[in-house]
Amino acid sequence: MSAIEIQGLEKTYTVGFWRKRQKRALKPLHLAVERGEIFGFLGPNGAGKTTTLKLLMGLMYPTTGSARILGKEISDPRIKAQIGFLPEQPYFYDYLTARELLQYYGQLSGIPARDRNRKVTEMLERVGLRDSAGVQLRKFSKGMLQRVGLAQAILHDPQIVFFDEPMSGLDPMGRREVRDLMEQLKQEGKTVFFSTHILSDAEALCDRVAIIHMGELRGVGAIAELTAGVHGRVELVWQGTAVPAGLRALGAECHITGENVRAVLAETSQDAALDALRKERLRLISVTPVRMSLEDYFVQQTGSSQAATRGAS
């Protein structure tokens, strides 16, 4: 049984004054996330990531389709005890202190009163907020609020956690801490499903990713699978500054850097290119298959002219 099974989940809004125009936020989505994996849900802004998460959390109702979490329909309230959710740019009751907020969420999650204080204290410790436990949230920085958000999502020891853009707006240290937390959750056997448009985070963390664009799933799988063998391109590097005419005829992209020339061309032209180099008696340094980066794949799938955000890691 998969941790999350999404079958044809679709969301269409009616828009306009007379509510006659339809806007499709999510085209029928089929997706399965296995237990214990960190799954990245990638897409540019407005792709449908948050809509998908809201549908899974029961905050919105699908137009058609269904989804199951740990084998139970998402409309089944009992499943909520097994999941944790961190919304994008979370906002909490700012009149409460961090401890009071976690106590409140603990009550709503059904944590027994005898365990609640201990769990809240442990969680505050885990996210590094022990010293700010008694401070009202209105005095918290954005990074501290994100930590509170993470704490509330995992307080009740859920089997699956959903994070919507968990690194958004965090500084490099904060992002590192969130990544560490996700890895710890994986080690504890939890399933982590998170949406992001920061590809370096996905590359560093995810067992598998799905790419969504304009409400449509464009690709799903392990990053290595998605990026391998798609291009079929090789990089040749040789000594010197001369580029044989035969090589240019093969459509190679050549760059001269110092004493070397670097050429990238189709793998099918590799033998012809090597023959051209031999003919000119040029000294070959390396032949390397060009591996597509996740960013290349992302841009290819989303067709976006905007470069995907590459966060500093």
Partner: protein, 258 residues
């Protein structure tokens, strides 16, 4: 009552207290002490009547303003600030959230009214120097005022579940005004005929009958309130609140939280 409703209600009460809603009591205390001193100087023989009228009217108006302006934000503020997302992603049903929010504000209003009632009785003692047996009816008037608060809170919740906070406030306040003249509306309906009669009767019975819940004038004149009226008003308020809350829940259950 489910534990989750109690927790949501407690948090709503705590929010009201920390957002300084109960600070209105300071203004009320100033008003009552000023009125008691002034009435003691300018009224001869009717101090009690003036203090009860003024005090209970102030209790009612202060509470109605709180009920409307907090009531309209109970749900819409949670959606706007997205605090609702982390609540509804837990094992909390939507109806539990609505009922919890209602109970929280109702509790706030009851506590607020309790302190204001102390102010009213304090002013009454100041001008009369002793309590009379008839002063007990003031408690019944206060009970009816609380029933009004419950109805208006439920209506504010209902309106805010499908309209903007501003419109919800306008609707709720309009209904309070119209409902305060419900008896006149029924009188008007009985004098008309044809379609307009049915329309007027329909409107008269649809709006909350706040005039039946207003016994301020009669208790100020030391007139007793019948047990039948107490029972009828209690039943009426509970049914009205129940229906308004059911409406709010039905709308909120179907709502997509964008």
């Amino acid at each position: 009552m489910s534990g989750r409703i109690v927790h949501i209600a407690s948090n709503t009460f705590r929010e009201a207290v920390r957002d300084r809603v109960l600070y209105n009591l300071v203004a009320f205390a100033l008003l009552m002490s000023g009125a008691a001193v002034l009435v003691g100087q300018i009224s001869i023989g009717i101090e009690r009547l003036v203090v009860i009228n003024l005090g209970l009217t102030a209790v009612s108006l202060f509470g109605i303003v709180i009920a409307i302006f907090i009531g309209i934000g109970l749900v819409s503020k949670e959606i706007e600030k997205r605090t609702l997302y982390t609540v509804l992603s837990r094992p909390v049903r939507r109806w539990e959230f609505i009922v919890g929010k209602f109970c929280g504000l109702a509790g706030t209003l009851v506590v607020n009214t309790f302190f204001m009632a102390i102010g009213v009785f304090g002013a009454l003692l100041y001008v009369s120097h002793h309590f009379q047996r008839a002063d007990g009816w003031v408690l019944v008037a206060l009970y009816f005022i609380i029933l009004q608060f419950l109805i208006i809170t439920a209506l504010a919740l209902l309106f805010s579940s499908f309209s903007s906070p501003l419109l919800a406030a306008v609707f709720a306040f309009s209904l309070f005004i119209i409902g305060s003249f419900a008896e006149d509306l029924r009188g008007f309906a009985s004098m008309t005929s044809g379609v307009s009669r049915w329309l007027a009767f329909g409107a008269a019975y649809l709006v909350p009958n706040f005039s039946a819940l207003n016994v301020i004038s009669s208790v100020a004149h030391a007139q007793p309130v019948s047990a039948q009226l107490i029972a009828t008003n209690t039943g009426y308020a509970l049914v009205y609140v129940g229906m308004a809350l059911c409406g709010a829940v039905l709308i909120f259950e179907r709502r997509n939280l964008k």
